[in-house]
């Protein structure tokens, strides 16, 4: 399904759903996996199933407010996803703390590869998870939009509604904190 959309630009997708709301499913087909990957990285796979879907419902309801002049569909969607993740903030922090304690993520999906992946990454896990829990929400948003969603600085600024400069300063603060915390171990 997504392949069929490869030829369409974001602008064409937007023009499509502006004319026929039913074509908003094309936005879903193109971006669902990206959004899911980002939310799953921040929370867990089960939460991501729900929140990624919720992201597109919210985006659909707010579609009239989408302003192409302020950035593309990607940062817009990731901004919404980040907002939804923020509502789970406490849970997310608890999740990192739980990881920090055990060093292994609890199996979320019954997927064996989930556990395998966690074990493979195990060496870096406890320290990193603890360090992420120490960041404030704004720093974590910027850092994870970069690391998990591969957004550019401009896109992160558009997603979070902050200035380009703030993206840079939050990011360097977050990376410094991480370095210090990880070296502390």
């Amino acid at each position: 399904m997504p392949q069929a959309l490869d030829g369409l630009t974001d602008a064409q997708l937007v023009a499509g759903f502006r004319e026929d709301p039913g074509r908003f499913t094309e936005v879903y087909d193109r971006y669902f996996h990206d959004v899911h990957r980002y939310v799953a990285g921040r929370l867990d796979v089960q939460e991501a199933d729900d929140l990624a879907a919720e992201t597109f419902l919210t985006a659909f309801r707010l579609r009239d407010r989408f302003d192409p002049a302020r950035g593309g569909l990607r940062p817009w969607l990731f901004g919404i996803a980040t907002h939804l993740v923020a509502r789970h903030r406490r849970k997310e922090t608890r999740h990192y703390r739980a990881l920090a304690r055990t060093g292994v993520a609890p199996p979320e999906d019954g997927h064996e590869n989930r556990v395998v992946a966690a074990v493979a990454a195990g060496a870096a896990y406890p320290g990193l998870a603890r360090a992420l829990a120490e960041l404030n929400q704004g720093e974590r948003d910027v850092l994870l939009l970069l690391a998990l969603a591969q957004l550019s600085h401009e896109e992160i600024a558009a997603a979070l509604g902050i200035s380009y400069g703030t993206v840079g300063s939050r990011l360097s603060r977050a990376r410094k904190k991480l370095r210090d915390l990880l070296e502390d171990r």
């Binding site: 026929d20 709301p21 039913g22 908003f24 499913t25 879903y28 087909d29 669902f32 996996h33 899911h36 990957r37 799953a40 990285g41 921040r42 867990d44 796979v45 991501a48 199933d49 990624a52 879907a53 597109f56 419902l57 659909f60 309801r61 979320e108 999906d109 997927h111 590869n113 989930r114 992946a117 990454a121 870096a124 896990y125 990193l128 998870a129 992420l132 850092l143 994870l144 970069l146 690391a147 998990l148 990376r175 991480l178 370095r179 990880l182």
Partner: protein
């Protein structure tokens, strides 16, 4: 491996399953569908935000301006429709098929809303498998279809099990409203909200003959119903017109007396927000044919 790569690798999770992709897409499709057929609660949306006290004031203010309708009760028309509904031949056909045109217009605080309209055709089989065609488009398949019973999602089987006693049906409808999927309805609006749902059931749900009859009788029990005599709907079809005047909300139904089918359902809400929702029913019947 730099610190960012390490975060990426460490936090990576398995890709979304096909099931979760499909489930999320189905949720979006339902939302799209709902957005095209405006919800019944549209006119209470403002009132929800205002809170119950303000909503009550809004109702009171609207009642002052209400005109006195003709004094003929619509009770005989509704009771006759109930009898006709009850004697409808048993259901045949594989699909419950509705073809409905809808239109919304109005003003908010004196400012004109953008009028919206469209058509929706839906075929649903007894296993909640549906095909939906919007605005003349091609039918799109949707598994696990749910019907809207007073803004609560229900299955085909739930509709077949609705009470056939008017009071019990109204109680069931009230219960659906109180547990609806869209949020609370202010206490002051609940009665007329349920009345709107009852009118809705008459043409939008595959309700058994006896349940439809109960819905007609429940409406007949409302003292505020008025007989409007012969009326024409938006498609020029004649039927019996009746008005249920609840002050802030006026519900008009045009019914074909030969079959008891609803030709048109118009809701007019007046207050800070004045909205007219018009549903014109081309077809609401069982069929063997898709498309």
């Amino acid at each position: 491996m730099n610190d960012l790569d390490r975060i990426t690798a460490t936090l990576a999770k398995p890709e979304a399953s096909e099931r979760s992709f499909a489930a999320g897409r189905a949720r979006l499709e339902r939302e799209i569908h709902r957005s095209r057929r405006p919800r019944l609660v549209l006119w209470t949306a403002g009132a929800v935000g205002l809170g119950a006290v303000a909503a009550a004031a809004l109702v009171a203010a609207a009642s002052i301006g209400a005109t006195k309708a003709a004094d003929l009760s619509a009770r005989p028309v509704l009771m006759a429709a109930a009898s006709t509904a009850e004697t409808t031949p048993p259901v045949t056909g594989r699909y419950w098929y509705t073809d409905t045109g809808w239109a919304v217009k109005g003003t908010v605080s004196g400012k004109k809303m953008r009028p919206r309209s469209g058509t929706t055709r839906i075929w649903v089989d007894r296993a909640d498998h549906a095909w939906i065609a919007q605005d003349g488009g091609k039918p799109v398949e949707s598994k696990g279809w749910t019907f809207n019973l007073c803004d609560k999602s229900v299955r085909f089987a739930d509709i077949q099990a609705l009470p056939t006693d008017p009071a019990a049906l109204r109680a069931k409808m009230t219960d659906a409203m109180k547990n609806n999927d869209d949020g609370p309805v202010p206490a002051a609006d609940q009665d007329r909200f349920v009345t709107g749902c009852m009118a809705d059931l008459l043409y939008s749900l595959p309700a058994p003959a006896k349940v439809r009859a109960a819905a007609f009788r429940s409406l007949a029990a409302m003292p505020e119903s008025r007989d409007l005599g012969t009326r024409k709907d938006g498609l020029g079809r004649s039927g019996k017109g009746l008005l249920i005047d609840n002050g802030a909300v006026k519900t008009t139904l045009i019914i074909d007396p030969r079959t008891s089918t609803v030709l048109e359902h118009v809701l007019v809400a007046s207050g800070i927000k004045s909205v007219e929702q018009r549903y014109t029913v081309r077809t609401a019947a069982w069929t063997d044919r898709l498309g």
